[in-house]
Amino acid sequence: MTDGRKPGIGTWVLLGSLVVFFILFFFYPLGYVFERALWPKTHFTLVFVSSVLSNPTVRAGFGNSLALAAVTTTAAFLLCLPLAFVAARRAFAGRDLLAGLTLLPLVLPPFVGAIGMKQLLSRFGSVNLLLMHAGIIHQPMDWLGQGKFWGVVVLQVLHLYPIMYLNLVAALSGVDQSLEEAARNMGASPIRTFFKVTLPMAAPGVFAGGVIVFIWALTDLGTPLVFEYKEVLSVQIFDRITDMEENPEGYALVLWVLLLTTLGFVTARYLFGRKRNAVSSKGGQMGVRPKLTRWGLVGTYSLFAVVLMLSVLPHLAVILTSFRQEWFMSVVPQKLTLVHYHDALAHHLTVSSIRNSLVLASAATMLDALLGVAIAYVLARVRFKGAALLDTVTMLPLALPGIVMAFGFLGAFGDTMIDPRKNPMVLLVIAYAVRRLPYMVRSAYAGFSQVDENLEDAARNLGASSWRTMWRVTLPLVALSIVAGGILAFAFAMMEVSDSLILALHEQYYPITKAIYMLLGRLRDGSELACALGVWAMAFLATALLLAHRLLGRRMGELFRA
């Protein structure tokens, strides 16, 4: 390892523009939220920040959101623990395939899934009918009334468990197996070894993943919106957008959300410093993965099958809905048709929204690629004071929920050149780009750290300038990582919900997610049209994710952690 280069003029220019970019599009909107929440008129006051909590509806929303996030995170953890354990520690046929499939739900947009879920859970929907046919219940259950909370939990668990899974697998494979053998050797049974050594060792990774899941579940807007579950923070913030000019309550709520997520993020990063468990493993036994026994195999396959089935079920319902002609009082539709695809494409919202999304996502990806590669290069190769700060700042967007960002943008940039009320395209690109920048940086950084600096030095030694070296040696070697990061950034930009719902206010600027949401509200065939559009989006995203997984492989887990 060389000592890294001294920062040159290019580095300072890059850092300068980053500072400007982040101040303008990250700190300024946040600052604006603070200002409007704490200095609504001319003087500082905590009245709104505290009074908003005295509103019983808001208090209920607060409690519900926290409970939702906590239950979702816990459930995802419990669900993933056995899956991740066998994937990390046991050898069985089809392991890689199953590991890849496990990631699929991540890109099945949960708010589209929610439409399908509603279909399954409605009064005479498939679930009630199945249960009644089986004689388990005699009256249809009211899943969507009192049970909305659990409906949202189930959808979010099924959507977010891959993040937990990736982190758990990475954490479990990272535990030096001789540490476990040492515990066994000292008299601890396999189960005690797991709880006394394996799990504590994996804790930082688990917590890092858990925080992302928690923040995500806490601030998700799409799913509760589709379920019409209004008693959560995200929806309550969404509802306050209309009168945000006059009423500081919305800002106060956003401030609370921000506090919660920052707390989680900071805990993950500093309480569980990542280096603590990095011990030299020189001479450690690279564990041979034991083969599963016959019963272990049966259990593993069934577990994966059940989880995968459950997680695609809502989306299966979306597909069925998109094809249905009649679906009443039966478990699956009686008659299928392609007419909704035709109608969806004929609808004036559809074509423009697809076009908008492609333009927005491409632009955001380009911006991310430019910024991300430059930042990653500086972090990996240049030694300067403030590298740690740069790293932290680039990762901050992970802690920033879409609703907070969109709310800040809408407020801060009203009445400017880029007022989203007039034309939101610029801000949408920036919002998408900022929120996914961490994935791009992580991905590119992973690439750069794997390229031995000697390879670059050799090129320079043979007469290549820094730029030529970058172009002929470094970039070709890290291209895969950059492409994979780009694919993820693009896919997530296409499916971004909260920014899109909040910032796009005119029909001609709707991205695809907002179009789906608006179609849903249409009478008669709204769900069918929304689903038809959703199926298209799902197919697209699944392809993108599988591609990224192929390119990144195991390192994929690195991208989803605090």
Binding site: E181, M186, V197, A203, S281
Partner: protein, 378 residues
């Protein structure tokens, strides 16, 4: 303390046969070494004794107890890992106390015993620190303390000194030997470093490709290797190929490139005309300076005195090619014809000059005549 008996142990990892019918006895309260190059199966054997690697076939006995089906955590055979395997999320104290907690030792006794184990390895003051804050040598001693504190039936050590620098390694040899003698615990030690094995072991098993080639005390292995592999792996040696010409009283005369050599015969390497290899340790190759050594009858060697017995000395003419002064000794490389022979002499001996012609003499009992390697392998 237990004695360990391994019978016909076999273990296969995918393509590799790591243990191929290994049988070996390790006596109670001894310091026993498994010595061999990497990939010889020594670590696999150690780990199967610890219960971390299940055998495909064969038996492992502690005294008379069959251990094959006893899980790792019930064997009471403490393992010191090559990378120490200290738990980074626990303090040094908790690391050492771990086994006592698992054995449900009461709290008061626990801290007493941990303190004693730590002071035995001279680390009493480090109890509250994290393993990551310790140096390699200190971590190594914590790992040792962790094993000692549970009063195991035996201690297994997997190349415990290989991650230490040379000085520390030397110091720890004394330390380990002292602790083994003080505690009287049976210890089984895996290493590829023959000096470690020779200097510390009561007995050594030399392993190669999943087989045990020879078991014996250090001196026995050094003086009487039964194969070229053992001769070469344990200590340094000069190997000279040749053919058997004559055979008398357990000695054979071998015709080699460097001249006629008399040496001790071993099984399968004494038939006249047979291709053999002579092993001569560097310190046994002596420069007969001014012919002070008379290659006549030798008072030390009784067989040689009898009439008709083989001559006690062989003699070779060579030229001194290179000298390496190494402090207490001097290493000399002679050329006999075009064969290099390495000798070690006391540096205080008669001085020599590069290019000198020299008579080299070797006592017959210092030459071991062995079967060539390929034939032994079959």
């Amino acid at each position: 303390m237990v004695a360990v008996r391994v019978e016909q142990a076999t273990k296969r990892f995918d393509q590799v046969l790591a243990l191929d019918g290994v049988t070996v006895d390790m006596e109670s309260s001894q310091f026993f070494f498994l010595l061999g190059p990497s990939g010889c199966g020594k670590t696999t054997l150690l780990r199967s004794i610890a219960g971390l690697v299940p055998l495909d076939g064969g038996r492992i006995l502690f005294d008379d107890r069959l251990m094959n089906d006893v899980p790792a955590h019930r064997r009471n055979a403490a393992l010191v890992f090559q990378n120490y395997a200290l738990w980074p999320h626990m303090s040094v104290f908790d690391n050492v106390a771990f086994g006592l907690v698992e054995r449900k030792v009461p709290k008061a006794e626990r801290s007493h015993r941990v303190a004693r184990a730590l002071s035995l390895v001279h680390l009493a003051e480090a109890a509250d620190r994290r393993p990551t804050e310790l140096s390699g040598g200190q971590q190594q001693r914590v790992a040792l303390a962790r094993s000692l504190v549970v009063r195991p039936d035996l201690i297994l050590l997997d190349e415990p000194l290989s991650n230490l620098d040379a000085n520390l390694r030397h110091e720890m040899r004394y330390e380990l030997k002292r602790i083994q003698e003080e505690t009287g615990i049976t210890m089984i030690y895996v290493t590829h470093d023959q000096k470690e094995a020779l200097s510390m072991a009561h007995r050594i098993a030399v392993m190669k490709s999943g087989h045990v080639l020879q078991v014996g005390e250090p001196e026995e292995l050094y003086r009487s290797p039964r194969s070229v592999f053992v001769a070469r792996f344990v200590g340094r040696t000069n190997l000279v190929a040749g053919r058997v010409r004559d055979k008398r009283d357990g000695f054979v005369q071998v015709e080699t490139d460097v001249g006629l050599l008399w040496g001790r015969s071993t099984d399968g390497a004494d038939a006249p005309g047979a291709a053999v290899v002579c092993s001569v340790r560097p310190e046994h190759l002596q420069w007969n300076h001014e012919r002070r050594i008379k290659p006549g009858p030798d008072a030390e060697s009784s067989q040689a005195a009898a009439p008709g017995s083989p001559p006690p000395w062989s003699s070779i003419t060579a030229r001194l090619a290179t000298r390496l002064f190494m402090g207490e000794v001097e290493e000399r490389c002679y050329l006999a014809g075009d064969r290099e022979l390495v000798a070690i002499d006391l540096a205080s001996g008669p001085s020599a000059h590069q290019g000198d012609e020299a008579d080299l003499v070797i006592r017959a009992r210092d030459v071991v005549v062995l079967q060539p390697e390929e034939e032994q392998a079959s």
